[in-house]
């Protein structure tokens, strides 16, 4: 598709989806409040008349308040992993699921995967969209798809060798882990497996990390970008040029805004990614603030596709941490810590790489020496660990430290230290 073709299709779809959104009590109210009518959207620039949608809106309308179709038309629900307060729920109709599978299939096709490939997915299944999202996409493309799911590394490797897996989806740190275990098992990924393509995403990683993983496993690794609010995987994907992620503009309108002023940034500048879904039925989102910081790469892609390219995500406009593919907000941890009267209000989260795995240590200050007993101190640390694990699904190492040894909470205290190294 050429640029004019893309933009013509975008406008048609935008007008249609805005009209459809008037079935959503949430958007109907939003539009009425500022006296905006769907007919007022006459060109793509009119998009800016529409107010932003935020994650908070999703929480406030939990669980079904944004939906634009009655619940009986929906066939699937996904929910975000470990977020603060109410989780965010995304509904899908049968058509949404098909469109999602098509988008993922298009991504996989773009990096050269064909029905003759064997695709293994080491993502968590269930509510996490990386599982079912890739499953349906890979099946739609016609590949033999192995829903290996997360964990059990030795079994994962056995599947790779026994089933002749050629393409694998894994978070980058897990790909490194697989290589480590292969070495222990005396398996040379180049000789003993048919792996050639790796899909990595969900976890921030540098170009250097990508090259190292490619080198370890003897594969080409492609960066995938998705988020549950936008279905999941299949939003943007690298082509074989491995330089920027093409975002499917027949599915999404891309805006990059300054997160403080919410004004569009100059072309090619970094800002917050704002997405408008163009062909969702159950729960379209208009001008959704993703909180991800990136930029649109200028110029044409040598691959010939005209869909815009997003640069690798530069971070977040909020303080979300991504650990082992799980989204974590420090406030989730803080809320738990504040319930322990034995602790002060100061804490420090340290993220490190240990044996190629992400590791989280939380230093907490003992308010007072309330005991003379090691056992009591240890069970305090254990209880804090358990409650945090229940909340964020990752087990931290909780370390008691003496009062006054952590940065104070006045002003902007450093709460998170990310010392993770490229593996």
């Amino acid at each position: 598709m050429s640029r004019p073709e893309i933009e013509k299709l975008q406008l048609e779809r935008l007008q249609k989806i805005v009209k459809h959104c008037m079935n959503s009590p949430f958007y109907k109210k939003r539009f009425d409040e500022i006296n905006l009518k769907p007919e007022d959207i006459k060109c793509l620039d009119d998009l800016r008349k529409i107010p932003f949608t935020t994650k908070q809106d999703l929480r406030d309308t939990y669980p079904f308040g944004i939906a634009s179709v009655p619940l009986e038309k929906c066939t699937r629900l996904h929910s975000s992993s470990g977020t603060t307060g109410n989780p965010t729920v995304i509904l899908h109709t049968e058509k949404d699921l098909q469109e999602w599978a098509k988008a993922v299939a298009r991504c996989l096709h773009m990096v050269g995967l064909r029905p003759s490939d064997v695709f293994q997915n080491s993502s968590g299944y269930g509510m996490f969209t990386g599982g079912l999202g890739f499953q349906y996409g890979a099946e739609h493309l016609g590949m033999l798809t192995v829903p290996a799911a997360a964990g059990n590394t030795k079994r994962q490797i056995k599947f790779i060798t026994d089933f002749g897996t050629t393409a694998l989806h894994a978070i980058p740190s897990y790909a490194a882990r697989l290589h480590e275990v292969m070495e222990e098992m005396g398996i040379d990924p180049r000789k003993d497996t048919k792996l050639k393509t790796l899909i990595i995403g969900a976890e921030p990683h540098s170009e250097e990390q990508r090259r190292r993983i490619e080198d370890m496993l003897g594969v080409k690794a492609y960066n995938s970008f998705g988020m549950s609010e936008m279905c999941g995987p299949g939003v943007a994907f690298e082509c074989t040029e491995q330089n920027g992620l093409h975002i499917w503009e027949d599915y999404y309108i891309v805006e990059i805004v300054n997160p403080d002023t919410l004004e569009p940034v100059a072309e090619g500048e970094v800002g917050e990614l704002v997405l408008t879904t163009l062909n969702r039925e159950a729960m379209p989102l208009l001008r959704y603030r993703t909180r991800d910081l990136t930029r649109v790469l200028p110029g044409e892609c040598p691959c010939g596709r005209h869909h815009k390219r997003l640069d690798r995500m530069k971070g977040r406009s909020d303080d979300m941490i991504i650990l082992k593919g799980v989204n974590i907000f420090p406030i989730q941890i803080e809320t738990i810590l504040l319930q322990f009267k034995e602790l002060s209000t100061d804490y420090l989260i340290t993220l490190e790489t240990k044996e190629s795995n992400d590791d989280m240590t939380i230093d907490v200050e003992l308010n007072d020496m309330f005991t003379d007993d090691y056992g009591r101190l240890q069970s305090l640390a254990k209880e804090i660990t358990r409650q945090i694990k229940d909340e964020i699904l990752v087990t931290p190492h909780v370390r008691l430290v003496s009062k006054g040894s952590l940065p104070k909470s006045e002003g902007k205290a450093v709460r998170v230290k990310d010392l993770r190294k490229p593996f």
Partner: protein, 142 residues
């Protein structure tokens, strides 16, 4: 029958114990015995000193995490087997000892221990006429 012991939360990093010792020195408080056990992240530094209550206040005022705990301090004659005989009295009575340490003071042995069954421990001490250190003795002990 018991004495106050300081229990300081000692983070496993250099300077922690030095700070406590310096504060006690400045306060002119003498240490009679002290012990520390190590775990990975932190230890508990236990101290018997000349003026525990004043020491406690001094450390707290300086922001040190400290606890004041009652422990038993039994005086033993300087003879082989005295510790064994004494501890046997407590273990025969099913008294759980959380921790124990000992040291020599002059020509006497001192056995410090903590138990949750302090009432039973009191009885044993009285019934067996054991010699013990009382709080008021601490300042004149050395």
């Amino acid at each position: 029958m018991t004495v106050h012991q300081l229990s300081v939360f000692a983070e496993n990093k250099s300077g922690t114990i030095q700070r406590v010792l310096d504060l006690l020195k400045e306060g002119n408080i003498q240490i009679i015995a002290s012990t520390i056990a190590d775990t990975t992240d932190y230890g508990i530094y236990r101290i018997i000193c000349s003026e525990p209550t004043r020491a406690y206040e001094t450390l707290r005022a300086a922001g040190i995490s400290v606890n004041l705990t009652d422990v038993f301090a039994i005086i033993l004659e300087n003879e082989v087997g005295k510790a064994a005989d004494t501890i046997k009295l407590f273990s025969d009575a099913d008294i759980d000892i959380s921790y124990l340490y000992s040291f020599m003071l002059g020509n006497k042995g001192i056995l410090i221990f903590r138990t949750k069954d302090s009432e039973k421990a009191h009885e044993i001490i009285i019934l067996n006429k054991l010699n013990f250190v009382a709080e008021k003795d601490l300042s004149t002990l050395i």
